[in-house]
Structures are given as C-alpha cells and as structure tokens.
Assembly symmetry: none
Homo-oligomer: 279 residues x 2
DNA sequence: TTGACAAATGACTTATTAGTCATTATTATA
DNA sequence: TATAATAATGACTAATAAGTCATTTGTCAA
C-alpha cells in the first residue's frame, strides 16, 4: 500500500510537468528509487495508475466541495463557499487539476473518458442542487443553462492560476464570480440549454452504491490507516451500517472524526449521501 | 503544393478523430494513397505539419470573425454577429476546432504553445475592441474581466456541439449569449481581472529573471508609491533578496501586503515565482 | 528512342517504451 | 540457523513510430 502511494505521488508530479503520454514508467520508477518490475507489482498497467490517480483526487475534491456546500447553512454565503472550496481544492491539488483539465478532451482511453464524464456529472449535480436551493422556482427554466455558465466561468478563471502561475486573490475571484452568478441567475430570460437538452446529454450515472460496497470500502481503508480515532470511528460506522443502533448525533460525530482523513473522504461523502436519502 | 494540401486535409481528419499523438505518419500517407517518403518531400517533420495546420485554419477563422465584426455597422447586431460568426467558423472547421481546443493545454512542443498563445491573443484583441465599441467608458474597469467571461462562455458552449455532437440551434445560442454578455457588461461591479493583470498575462515570462532585475524593479516602484505599509514591505523584501534573513512566513506576509497594489502586481508575481510559494 | 531530371517509393535504421520473467535479495517462520 | 515465502530487480522482448535513402518510376526535351 505504501509503495502504491509513493508511485502515485511521484507519478503525479511528473505527469503534471510533462503530460501523461510523455512520461515513461521507467522515469517514474527512477524518480521513486525503485525498479521497473516493482511498479508492475503495484499496478497492472500504466492505465491502471492513471485511473487510480483520477479516482483518488476526484473523490477527495468532490467530497470536499460537497461537504462545504452541505454545511453552509447561510444561503448568503453558499455561492461564495462553493467557489471558494472549489478553487481551494483545485489549488491544493493543482498538479492533478492540470492533468485533469489537460486530458479532459484529449484521451483515447475509453475507461478514462468514462471516469472523467462520471465525475463531471457529479460536479453538475452539486451545482444544480446549489442553484435550486438558492434560487428555487425562479430559475426553473434557466437552471440547466446556468450550470453551463458556471462551469464555463470556473474553467476560464481556473486556467489563469493553473497554467499562468498568476498569484491568486481567491477572495476577490470568488466575490466576483458570486456577483456574476447572481446576475445571470436573476436576469437571464433566454436559456440555451433546456431540461430536455440536459437529459439528453446525461450519460446514465453509475447505479447507486450498495451498503455492501461501502462496507467493503471501509474494510479496505481500515487496513490502510493507523490513527486510533479514525480507526475506531470507522469500525463503529461499519457496525452501524450493518445494524443501525447509534443515535444520529453520534453517527454524525463519527463522520466528523473521519472526514478529514485523506483515505476516508470518499466514504464520508457516500455515507452523508446515504443517510440523506434514508431520512 | 497540391500534395501539401491533400496531406493537410487528410491529416486533419485523422487528428480530429484520434488525436495528434495517436496518429502516425504512415496512417496519414496510407489515407492519402501516397508513400511515407512523399510526406517528407512536403513537410520536414510531423511538427511542421501540425504548425502548418494551426496557421492555416487560425488565419482563416480569425479573419472571418474579424471581417464580420468590422463590417457590422449596426451596434445592436454586433455581439450577435460576433458570436454567430465565431460559432459558424468553429462549426465549419470543427475538425480543426477540436484539435485546437484539445491541444491548447496539452502540448509538449514549444513552438506550438507559442502559436496557440499568439492566436489566443488575437482573439482577445477582437473581443476587447468589440467590448469597447459597444459599452465604451461604462466598462472601463470591467472590460478585461469581461473578456474572460466571454471566452469562458464560448468555450463551455462550443464544447457542447464539438464533443457531444448535439444538434445546434445556433441562432438561439447566440441570442442567449448576447443577453448574458449584456447582463454582465451592464451590471458587473466586482471585476476580477484588472488592467494590470491583463498586461501581466500578456508577457508570460520564459527566460529567468535575475535577482538584480527584481531589485531594480523594486527600487523603481518605491519611487512611484506613497503608501507606508507597501513601501516598508517592499524595502524589507528587497533586503531579504540581497541577504535572506526573514522566515518564509514573514516573507509571505510581506508579499500579501503588496499583492493588491496596482504597481506591485508584477513584482509580486515574480517574487511568488522566485520563492515558489504559489504554484 | 534515349537520357537527364524530378518525383515517388518503401524497406531499413534508430529510438523509444510498455510490459515480462528468470534471477536475486529480503523477510518471516519453524 | 535453515528453509520457505515474498519482494524486488533489470535485462530482455515485442511493438510502434519517426525519419532516411538507395532504388524505381514517370516525364519530357532533344
């Protein structure tokens, strides 16, 4: 497990610098100080490494954003928080964000395209629920169009700091985008993308994840981490999944405990979604 | 010459389908019904072909748009004409547009990056002059920011028909974007990109700038500004450059102090790069 | 018809890189 | 300590692709 993480970290650096195609396995293993053969003990192929990277970081980024949005009670701050946590995540994982944006349109690998599409959909889902919460009925006709505006603006501005190294006044950027979003949401009368278009564009998202799958994931993560608090929290949450005994407050508290551990972010996201649906 | 055009046409098709990297010369020549050697009679290398393609199509697209914009006398129609001719050109040369957008962020080849930047700048120039003509003084503070909004929106929506081959109601799309642009132009009060930022982005530095040059710049700026905090921060940063004594946290803080001063933006940018604080 | 010149060919060289596997080193166990 | 199990190695194979060049083919003026 440790070896796998080492490879992922080092590979990410090189990929961001040179691009995925231009980085041979040999260079990654040299940089890690291991042999080429050792790489293939951790990953079946170069593609598997790429997929693992995308999964790892997109899960972390999406769950960070989702958590922030769900835990901002004040609607006034909601948009700002959304933009802020998005750009924060992009900045924190800028090496990855670069790769993600770079390869977004350029991949030959089918599995990769599906992955990227999938996470793109999740992002759209977050944006949509945010718009609905903020503007409600008023944007019924324009909300799908708004999603594309927001995505376009984010893309344009994130390119600035990702590829031009410009130092970033993130507060100002977010303020500026909040204003723009509000403007577009309040005054747009001619949407381009309608509900029907949006449905059409929608690739069927992967079917709901089962409790069994979440439990399997927890068991996997338990092997990877050492921190006692997180470990015990996970064990309790697992039991709670099998047979719900804990009060909602305790369950929520346990989720808080594991929320910030890098290996637990995705599980936290799934569990939050799971309990949201249940009630 | 005829041969050269044949190769360019056929190569464009294959590039758009598979990506540039994934298309071998052999495949292009097979598709053309000529030999591999014949290719090298027309182009010195694969790179030369790629550059030739970009030049050819970007010249055509840019001049089409520029012509339409310059020949629209009625300001009411100007924005609509701009969007319409842009999307028309993208659609007409969709194979090329795909490649251009794909490779925009992903290129290894230095010459190619320079080319793409150059044409991107031309596009920004067209958009800027259009904004100035339409809104004049009213957008003095927000016009550079507006450019990035327009580019972001165009990108987001052109992706729809380029990569999802959604059927396109171009009239509706342009109407919709005209409304959005007018909204943003009329009501934006918090621009993110200022005149200074825009100037800065114009000259992306390639060659290393020496400490001495930065110090010279600081001395120059010191003469220009009066604010005590910014002044002292600059003096301290200058000493720190000559002989590093400050802790990273203090240096970072001083940079924060000067970051938003219009005359210090470029220096801040250089220093951030120098210390590699912000990536 | 011929010979000179240009155009075109494709087998070949060189280089790169993903992935394999027989061998060696290390660690755990009895 | 001896032995089995596991991890790690890197030389090797196979595949791909850019670019070259000796040879062939085509053209046309004399």
């Amino acid at each position: 497990m440790i070896k796998k993480q080492l490879i992922m970290e080092k590979a990410l650096e090189l990929f961001a610098q040179q691009g995925i195609e231009a980085t041979p396995i040999q260079q990654i293993t040299d940089y890690c100080g291991i042999s080429k053969g050792a790489f293939y003990l951790s990953f079946k192929s170069k593609d598997e490494l790429i997929i693992a990277l995308i999964d790892h970081f997109m899960k972390e980024i999406i769950s960070d954003i989702d958590y922030m949005v769900n835990n901002t009670k004040n609607d006034e701050e909601l948009l700002y928080t959304f933009y802020y946590s998005t750009f924060h995540a992009f900045h924190k994982h800028s090496d990855f964000a670069k790769i993600f944006i770079k390869e977004q349109t350029q991949s030959f690998n089918e599995e990769l395209i599906v992955k990227i599409h999938y996470y793109d959909r999740l992002m759209e889902g977050i944006i949509l629920s945010l718009i609905e919460r903020l503007y409600g009925e008023k944007v019924e006709r324009t909300k799908y169009d708004l999603i594309y505006c927001i995505k376009g603006l984010m893309n344009s501005y994130s390119g600035l700091f990702l590829f031009n190294n410009a130092p970033l006044n993130r507060e100002l950027l977010c303020q500026s985008l909040v204003e723009k979003t509000n403007l577009l949401a309040s005054h747009t009368t001619v949407p381009f993308i309608t509900h029907e278009d949006f449905q059409m564009l929608k690739h069927p998202i992967k079917e709901e994840i089962t409790i069994e799958q979440i439990i399997q994931m927890i068991e996997q993560v338990l092997k990877e981490i050492d921190e006692p608090i997180e470990k015990e929290s996970l064990i309790l949450l697992k039991q709670h999944l099998l047979e719900p005994t804990l009060s909602p407050a305790i369950a929520k508290g346990l989720l808080e405990n594991i929320r910030n551990h890098p290996h637990c972010k995705w599980i936290t996201y799934l569990l939050f979604r799971y309990y949201e649906i249940e009630k």
